[in-house]
Symmetry: C2
Subunit: 283 residues, 2 copies
């Protein structure tokens, strides 16, 4: 893997993901200058103190002025707008990418919107946590993670290759698919689990809280994620999430029917298949 | 908390839970002799090597002969039978308890079955993991955990108090409820999450395994549990599990409807309530 050295990289939104990108860039000496862009001075100051960024600004135009690469790490519903605005002010030929959990709507919102010679390549690093904020950022967040790239047909291969090497340099393995294929897949592997975890956590009567042990906590952990962020993700990807939910409910009906018929053999078979899948994923 | 010293304690089934009880008893010097009882010599030898038990036997009658307390840590469908057999061979006035994840059926199976003067008090330590076997046993497994006792009406208070102190000495906080109330509660806090995790893991197409990151892994972690053990639990507690499942599905329908109507405000409200519940549980 060829490591590259960037001069200036701008990060819009320096929370868990943006902060971790900054920390990784600095610790691996991949960029001379990392600029953090955000709305709140206090949060930006914290990112600077933690070493996630070298300089900060609340003015997007100034922050991206020298950035060869701008990474937009905001909630999904703001990404297209920030990319558009950043594209107008970054250097000619600069690259733009994001870290959004949905891709189809963002890519279509940007379709034809970048007239400045800047190139956008959609990214989704599959890393993160239910925790929020730069205080939880980690330089190794992307180690052994997967990052999905969703270039449009017609995106210059050299731009795709540079964004790919950017994520690889942070420790991620990169896969490439269409925005729509990404959204269908992530509906199943990320958005559906979040929906189920939230529905399970939300339906627990408070009198039973004391009896919720490790199993319940693991199963509902992601439900502690930011409701605004997740409402945005579900809104962006609601069609594919509904399809994944339907598929899940079909499968759940098999368990329900086995329970209703007290069919221990059938239950056991279902549980064996579930365990095989879960074991295949590793820890 | 008054700590007590036992002479001999027998553990039937020296896996994760039985092994952790043994390790905790030895490390805290709570019992002079811990006897491990099981079916396989190799597994018992491993428990002895790990220091979870002092001596081992595959003969239940011999193993419990001197045991003031016998703790049955087998899969739920075998518990009543082991308790009955142990009661016939343990010293007069000895105590028996278990670590089963269900209680109503076990307690009713034992109703009137113990004629020997031994007393059974049902227990369910809410500790454990998707991992199996004594190799994963830990002396601190019960630290800050909750253990539910489900004595029948008429069980001598002195026996209940001794079993309570036993679990407290291992680090657990003890709560007391009827076997039926236990099963209704655990259907919601443990058996339902397992069902959902298994259904989710089982419905994941293998081509998407690479895109299942932390969120999916957390949400489905318990699905790696032993299918035989869990088929037994579901069979014992199928009625209450079906009730919990129905309640969950009612709640899930709210999410589904908000998604179908693209009602981001409603989704956000549901996610906020879920986060409040999940945050209240702590890590």
């Amino acid at each position: 893997m060829q490591q590259m050295k960037w001069d200036t990289i701008a990060i819009v939104g320096v929370g868990l993901i943006g902060g971790s990108i900054g920390l990784a860039l600095k610790q691996r000496r991949l960029a001379r200058c990392v600029v953090g862009i955000g709305r709140r001075h206090s949060r930006l100051a914290r990112a600077r103190r933690l070493g996630a960024v070298d300089s900060t600004t609340i003015q997007l135009e100034r922050g991206v002025a020298d950035a060869e690469l701008t990474v937009v790490c905001t909630p999904v519903e703001q990404i297209a707008d920030f990319v558009c605005r950043a594209a107008k002010h970054c250097p000619p030929g600069a690259l733009l990418t994001d870290a959004g959990s949905t891709k189809a709507r963002i890519v279509s919102q940007l379709n034809g919107a970048l007239s400045s010679g800047a190139v956008f390549v959609g990214s989704h690093p599959l890393a993160g946590s239910e925790k929020q904020g730069v205080a939880h950022a980690r330089a190794d967040l992307f180690d052994n993670s997967v990052c999905v790239l969703t270039p449009k047909r017609g995106t210059p291969q050299v731009a795709v290759a540079r964004v790919r090497r950017f994520w690889e340099a942070l420790g991620a393995g990169v896969v490439q698919m269409t925005p729509e294929a990404h959204d269908r897949a992530l509906a199943f592997t990320s958005h559906l689990p979040h929906l189920l975890a939230a529905a399970l956590a939300g339906s627990l009567p408070s009198k039973l809280f004391d009896l919720a042990a490790t199993g319940f906590r693991d199963t509902t952990r992601v439900a502690a994620g930011d409701p605004d962020v997740w409402a945005g993700i579900f809104t962006h990807n609601r069609q594919a999430t509904l399809v994944a939910l339907q598929e899940f409910q079909r499968h759940l009906a098999r368990y329900r029917s086995a329970l209703e018929r007290a069919d221990a053999g059938r239950l056991r078979k279902l549980l064996i298949q579930a365990k095989q899948n879960r074991d295949a994923l590793g820890r």
